[in-house]
């Protein structure tokens, strides 16, 4: 193998995991598939990542079912919701959980809590739990730096903890409307955010219903400063305790002077985060992110 092809092969090997998760960017995807076509070594490395015959990624992994009591307790946010909703619909997965000796309910207490069922059934499960926890702590250390850069509000100690999601009811769908008149009755003016600012103190927005929704007048920072900037992509996400309720992706210019968030029905009272993420001017840089915390009555 020549030096050039060895380098290409090393590069390809490093991309295989992202490829198998479906997360390789377009150009790299084309390059990797071209390499895979002529590389039996890479194809053989990829083969174990194919689902086993008769299994499908559309159902809960067998490894999750096998370790359900402790593993399901660690699920959070969206992943927890998706597993929960899948279980409601999927008789097969419920049957498999039952076969494995588990109830089809996501555990909501740490498995090693004194008095819990797992703690009483012996030390072996505890040992596995700690194995898992240690792995996660390792992962958390690596992720902490990323979180600090991308989501300073989460780590900023704003006096707010993020509870588990099991207590929440079903989310109300929320639609976004753009380029509204800033003089719309009942509009709330958003303050100027700082760059990567913490979510400031909550902005009181009153009750939010499908009738008038919530109209937010955008500050100058959320309006394109130049024609070039106006084409950049803006992603607006409404979150409740880290869980995405609604999201919109579009060009920066489309926001206009004011936007409206209109739920179907009434938005549950509580705090919400509205996140604006603007693509960077230079590829490879992180997006510019602003958070607002909205308090709904």
């Amino acid at each position: 193998m020549s030096t050039g092809s060895a380098i290409a092969h090393d590069w390809a090997v490093r991309q295989l995991l992202a490829y198998s998760a479906g997360l390789l960017p377009e150009e790299e995807l084309l390059r990797l598939e071209e390499h895979l076509h002529g590389c039996p070594d890479c194809r053989s490395r990829l083969a174990p990542l194919k689902p086993a015959s008769g299994t499908s990624a559309a159902h809960l992994p067998a490894s999750l079912i096998a370790t359900w009591s402790r593993s399901s307790a660690l699920l959070e946010g969206l992943e927890r919701e998706l597993v929960e909703s899948h279980l409601e619909d999927c008789a097969e997965c419920r049957a498999e959980l039952s076969f494995a000796g588990h109830e089809a309910v996501i555990a909501d207490e740490p498995a090693d809590r004194p008095g819990s069922r797992r703690a009483r059934t012996g030390g072996s499960w505890l040992h596995s739990l700690w194995f898992w926890v240690i792995g996660l702590l390792g992962a958390a250390a690596g992720v902490a730096a990323w979180l600090f850069a991308a989501h300073p509000a989460w780590l900023g100690g704003g006096g707010r903890t993020m509870p588990g999601l099991r207590g929440f009811g079903h989310a109300v769908p929320v639609a976004f409307e753009f380029a509204l008149d800033s003089l719309t009755a009942g509009a709330v003016k958003l303050p100027e955010p700082g760059f990567r600012a913490r979510a400031a103190k909550p902005i009181e927005v009153g009750a939010v219903t499908s009738v008038s929704g919530m109209v937010l007048v955008l500050p100058p920072a959320l309006q394109p400063p130049s024609p070039e900037a106006s084409e950049r992509r803006m992603v607006i996400t409404l979150l409740q305790d880290g869980r995405e309720l609604a999201s919109h992706t579009g060009p920066f210019y489309a926001l206009g002077d004011a936007i409206r968030l209109r739920p179907e029905g009434r938005l549950e009272a509580g705090d919400y985060d509205l996140r604006f993420a603007l693509d960077p001017a230079v590829d490879g840089e992180p997006p510019l992110v602003w958070f607002y915390r909205l308090r709904v009555r």
């Binding site: 090997v13 490829y19 174990p48 067998a62 072996s124």
Partner: protein, 165 residues
């Protein structure tokens, strides 16, 4: 299982045996099992291999293993290793389930890709150009990247640790 994996802790044996049994049960519900004993042995073998791969963490997960029938050495858990749950499988499940609820075309593409692991094959099946299928998937992939920015939990943490989002 103990023949395949040296020095396996008791609790891990229990987990892996249960994982193999769940896979066997899953298969038995989809088709009649003609010869279950060899199938069970194959599943146990695969579960052991997968366990070793998971312990190696994202960086070493795809490295070749030792000889096919030789006992496997249990590696020391590396950063990001997945002792209990196959996080790649769980990640794929979360992606599929998200698309199932929010985006049917992306759900179809994801389902096909996670089965085939080849966009070329999918392009052939759909009688589309390779680049067209990939472009369609890229729009879906952006949704996943956006989720990875906003979401927390083991799945997303694993994906960030593995540097795939």
């Amino acid at each position: 299982m103990r023949r395949k994996l040296k020095s396996l802790p008791e609790d891990t044996v229990e987990d892996l045996a249960r994982e193999a049994m769940v896979s066997l049960y899953r298969l038995s519900r989809r088709e009649a099992l003609v010869n279950p004993d060899p199938l069970a042995a194959t599943l146990v073998d695969r579960v052991c291999v997968d366990h070793v791969r998971r312990l190696r963490g994202p960086a070493g997960r795809l490295d070749p293993l030792s000889q096919k029938d030789a006992p496997l050495e249990l590696p020391a858990p590396s950063p990001g290793s997945e002792a209990g749950v196959d996080m790649l499988e769980l990640f794929r499940f979360v992606v599929l389930e998200h698309f199932k609820q929010h985006d049917a075309p992306c759900h179809e593409l994801a389902t096909e890709f996670f089965t085939e692991l080849s966009w070329s094959a999918i392009a052939r099946q759909r009688q589309l150009r390779h680049s067209t299928v990939i472009k369609r998937w890229s729009a879906c992939m952006e949704q996943i990247r956006e989720l990875a920015y906003a979401q927390r939990g083991p799945v997303w943490e694993w994906a960030r640790q593995a540097r795939i989002v």
